[in-house]
Amino acid sequence: MSQIPADLQYTKSHEWMRKLADGTVEIGITDHAQHELGDLVFAEVPEKGRVLAAGEACAVVESVKAASDVYCPLAGEVTAGNSELAATPELINQDAFGRGWLLRLRPAGAAGAFLSAAEYEQLLRAEGS
């Protein structure tokens, strides 16, 4: 079983969200997701100022084998994309919940219903991981 930090929220499509002190939300893909993708060699993150709808494709992560879209769990305006990933996409493999974050967002409106760490763990179990 992958590690699943208790202080984050999760989606069924394997993104995580961390509420930051300034009211923005940091978003990435889970350790389980990076493991499924394999060695990442390219990441495309959104630019600051881009306005995203909930469920919109907001980033692309590519392993040696395939490209995968990352979907923005909630609507809002991008305050930062992780510029470190341009040169070192492997940070997502090495530290999916930390230095491998993809973007930060200032949420617009109310957040939807997300999974807790326990619920996400259940989801992974159900998927047979």
């Binding site: 394999g38 040696v64 084998k65």
Partner: protein, 362 residues
């Protein structure tokens, strides 16, 4: 559930991730595709290629049969054990499959064809073999391992006894010989030195374990794909198929139109293409911008015309993206590639990109 090779359980026990490949459940990677790739470039790796189809052809008419069946000319094979790479074409010059043929004796040749084309290949071969009185036998009793890398040969011969060891080490490139109950050849699909080893299915697991014990890394089809693309080698189904002919697939060098008296399937169609000139060609590309080339991306050629990426990947050796593209024929130094709506710059490179561990791209 797909077909399984004799190594299926071993792959699972080694933590392989399995995928469907041509109807077979095959390991795509073990721990890390990148690490497996680098192991082959720097030391040695082993691939399960038992899904590939080994076909033994026997009978006095075998050489004449193959001279008719294949676009390359087995008449060139004079020394026992010598291998030849060839396309097998249909009447319109489309590629039914690409394969390796080994000359064993005047009445025996061995083919290795792709897994995904097995059924249609066997059907086609049997259909045409009858007239030549050639017997066709698929070697489902054998497994096949590809051991590749600069240390591959030295590490592989630990599987063999003394005399056979010497014989295997003495094989020149693109030759094979019988060993014990199997066959070993100095061939591969990675651009590195190495062996491909055919052996009885029941011996495959022990051989794999012995190779691991000798320091040979288990490698999946993911690494096999990045290695072959760096080595400038085509993949059937991606870079050519029945809708494309060898001249637009970077395989003109494998078509033997001389001697002109040799009749082979597809010859008339290829002669027409050659006299009018192929409209398209397969080129190598190195992506200059950041991103990853993938098959089916659109390629825009300066001065008009478009083409398509046929194979693309991230090259672990070059740490850039490389690929093949089929484009209108003509000199072109630079193209743009549409990657998810962004137009990125790529320059043309004559494959191979990497050989024997060294980058050939400057």
């Amino acid at each position: 559930m797909g077909r399984r090779t004799p190594l299926y359980e071993l792959h699972l026990s080694q933590g392989a991730r399995l995928v469907d490949f041509g109807g077979w459940d095959m390991p795509v990677q073990y721990a890390s595709q990148l690490a497996e790739h680098h192991a082959v470039r720097s030391a040695a790796g082993v691939f399960d290629v038992s899904h590939m189809c080994i076909v033994d052809l026997t009978g006095a008419g075998t050489r004449e049969f193959l001279r008719y069946l294949l676009a390359n000319d087995v008449g060139r094979l004079a020394q026992a054990g010598k291998a030849l790479y060839s396309c097998m074409l249909n009447e319109t010059g489309g590629v039914i499959d690409d394969l390796i043929v080994y000359f064993l004796s005047d009445s025996a040749f061995r083919l290795v064809v792709n897994a995904g084309t097995r059924e249609k290949d066997l059907h086609w071969i049997r259909r045409h073999a009858q007239a030549f009185g050639v017997a066709v036998r698929e070697r489902t009793d054998w497994a096949m391992l590809a051991v590749q890398g600069p240390q591959a040969r030295q590490k592989s011969v630990s599987l063999l006894g003394g005399a056979e060891r010497q014989r295997a080490l003495a094989l020149p490139a693109f030759f094979g010989c019988d060993v014990a109950d199997g066959f070993i050849s100095r061939t591969g699909y990675t651009g590195e030195d190495g062996f491909e080893i055919m052996l009885p299915a029941a011996q495959a697991v022990d051989a794999w374990r012995a190779l691991n014990a000798a320091g040979v890394v288990s490698c999946g089809l993911g690494a096999r794909d990045t290695l072959r693309l760096e080595a400038g080698m085509n993949l059937y189904g991606n870079d050519m198929d029945e809708s494309t002919h060898p001249f637009e697939s970077g395989l003109g060098w494998t078509v033997a139109l001389e001697p002109g008296a040799r009749s082979f399937i597809g010859r008339e169609a290829l002669e027409r293409v050659r006299s009018s000139g192929s409209a398209r060609e397969l080129i190598g590309l190195l992506l200059e911008d950041r991103g990853v080339l993938r098959s089916h991306q659109k390629v825009i050629v300066p001065g008009g015309g478009t083409g398509e990426i046929t194979s693309g990947t991230f090259s672990p050796t070059l740490e850039r993206s490389i690929g093949f593209a089929r484009v209108p024929r003509g000199p072109v130094a630079r193209v743009t590639v549409d990657i998810r709506g962004k137009l990125l710059a790529a320059r043309t490179v004559k494959p191979p990109f990497v050989r024997a561990g060294k980058s050939l791209v400057y």
